[in-house]
Amino acid sequence: MKSLKKFALGMAVAGLSATAVAAENVKIAFIDPLSGAFAATGTNGLHQFRFAADELVNENGGVLDGQMFEMVAFDNKTSPKESLTQLQVAIDQGIRYVVQGNGSGVAHALTDAINKHNRRNPDDQLLFLNYSAVDPALTNEECNFWHFRFDAHADIKMDVLTDTIAENEDIEKVYIIGQDYSFGKAVASAAVRMLAEKRPDIEIVGNELHPIGSVQDFTPYARKIVSSGADAMITGNWGSDMLGIGKAAIENGFSGPVYTYYGAADGITAAFGETGVGSLKLVAEGGNNPPSKPEAQEYIRAFKDKYPDGNISQARITNVIQMLAMAIDEAGTATDVVKVAEALEGMEFTDSLWSDNPLVMRADDHQLIQEVHILGHVPVEAPFDFDNSGYGMQYENSVVAAGEDLPMSCEMDRP
């Protein structure tokens, strides 16, 4: 009955509500896949952003004198070309902030395009808040003033990962496997370099790349890994490649830890289920399942109420939203992005949800320095599990201010 009323009401008040709010909002363009193969990840990210913006900023009165954060979604279909088209549409709408995370290829295209755009159009510049693309180059060789990264990049994660391996005396042989593209290669070369530094006695019994997204059956790879006698494997794979290599290895007799970059949530936790317990490890920033702070538990409960099929899998999203809000307040403007960027540079921020240690947006390269963990795949009770599967990720090892002392090669031009 209630729905019938709503339906009738909807038909009657033709669209009055939609137009009224817009004017004062701080609009943030979310450019990520909402259709196509990675739509699930993108959609979940969007939900996390919307929730974070509402819960952490808008509920508390917004920024400046009551301006609200408004997430505007743009579907880039994981295509660099579409991303650039959508970027133009976003600029038309007067949007000053762009968030994106899925795919370093897209991130490269966006950071390059935004850099060019800001140089060519000093009147409507914008900032790129990268929440997930982890190619180290983005804050090194290809860094620019307009780009800020909130996730730990691949080398930082590898630093933590190799620390963990180095501490484990049982591991003598390591197998590295990844997708054949820049990120897979970056992971492999960082692993080799850092292991050689930290544990020269460890033997790399395999280091290989497989074609991205086109291997149907990972069994032959799993056979090689098992035959090599490896005690641990490292993989930067994501999506179906992650699932494929992980499941194949475990099912065909591999019993050591499988260290991954993307071995959780987005259907992967559910698909591993019991198989992954004791083997599957993840290197990531952010929260434990369940998180220790009651605020965070409350936050997750509220999120799951709203999006029962979703996951709070990218804790950094709340950092993006909160740090942006702080920077805008500090700069006293949401339209002059140079000022906002300057406020973000070097910002110290203590997160109320996931970690007690302060996060620092390093001014030199716009890389967020934060705590990074190694997590293990274990049974977890709802609602703190991933994919409603009864499994989740729990801390096994943590490194504060991870990667702070890694070399960096960013030479930033400032306006």
Binding site: L209, G213, R223, G267
Partner: protein
């Protein structure tokens, strides 16, 4: 050596799976002259239907019911879609099946979402059949081998021992005789399309749990199936069998053996540049066999088509 044996077995499983698709595709092509671009999409539908059914009734019911549903869908699509397009010629038919493949993928995403669904082997088969030097061989794969061989035998029986089978066989060798079948030709077409797609569906049901059930599964396999029947020779069932096994092994062995271009180049007397990542030839030097594994079938297809357009065992020119 033990790894070699395991690889032979793994490649055999892949090859048989490919053949389950290829045989249906070949039948359809031989009878109707249609290269069904959407064949692998029916394979995907088989996996998804079986997953959906297995949620309610368990794996075994899905094994039987899902291929039937897929076959009925295939027959209906032939009746109300393909037959209509048939009058315009073969190229529009090919384009129709291409569109169908796109549409089925969209429909699967529409109903089941974009993530991989947790479709798993039945508990009864979730154990290790045997192990060779630490490499375990799951019982489920043994089951797959028996299923594929069983299907092959049934097919062989129908083709050689039944009247309709012999007519179909005649049509395989002499396509022009199809018109003189003396049967209800439209019914035969519908039947062949239905059976062919049902076989693809069955392949999907048994492959879904090991290869993963996700919207991209049709796309990654579909092109390879095409390669198999083109390489084997359009219209040749034996060719399809040989090509399927060949490609199954090529893919398995290419992934298993880390032959490196570096070794080959050094053997040929070239000197590896000191700073390999600054050399313009870096990609050549660092190339390995697993990297190129998945494109080997395409390379094979192009070479075969250039040298022998009728395929390895084919008698018909396309």
């Amino acid at each position: 050596m033990s790894l070699f044996i395991v690889n032979i077995l793994d490649g055999f499983v892949t090859g048989l799976l490919l053949f389950m698709l290829c045989s249906g595709l070949t039948l359809i092509f031989s009878m109707m002259g249609v290269l069904n671009f959407a064949h692998a999409s029916f394979y995907m539908l088989g996996a998804y239907f079986a997953y959906q059914i297995s949620m309610f009734t368990g794996f075994w019911v899905g094994l039987i019911v899902a291929p039937i549903i897929v076959g009925v869908m295939g027959a209906l699509i032939e009746r109300y879609g393909l037959r209509r397009v048939h009058q315009y010629g073969h190229v529009p038919e090919l384009i129709f099946t291409f569109g169908l493949a796109l549409l089925i993928e969209e429909f699967v995403q529409f109903f089941w979402g974009r993530q991989q669904v947790p479709y798993n082997p039945p508990a009864a088969l979730d154990f290790t059949a045997f192990a060779i030097a630490g490499n375990t061989f799951p019982a489920y794969k043994v089951f797959m081998i028996f299923m594929a061989i069983g299907l092959f035998l049934v097919l062989l029986y129908i083709l050689t021992k039944t009247r309709i089978g012999m007519t179909i066989q005649a049509a395989l060798s002499y396509p022009e005789t199809v018109q003189n079948l003396g049967h209800n030709v439209p019914m035969v077409f519908m039947g062949v399309f239905g059976v062919g797609t049902a076989m693809a569906g069955l392949a999907g049901v048994i492959a879904g749990p090991v290869m993963g059930t996700f919207p991209g599964m049709a796309f990654t396999l579909g092109a390879i199936v095409f390669v198999c029947i083109v390489v084997g020779g359009l219209g040749s069932l034996w060719g399809a069998l040989v090509a399927s096994l060949l490609i199954g092994w090529i893919q398995t062995f290419a992934a298993s053996y880390n032959l490196r271009m570096e070794d080959l180049l050094i053997w040929l007397g070239f000197e590896k540049p000191m700073l390999i990542w600054e050399s313009p030839w870096q990609d050549l030097w660092t190339l390995t066999l697993p990297q190129v594994g998945p494109i080997l079938p395409y390379l094979l297809m192009v070479i075969v088509l250039v040298l022998r357009p009728q395929g390895l065992f084919g008698k018909r020119e396309t």
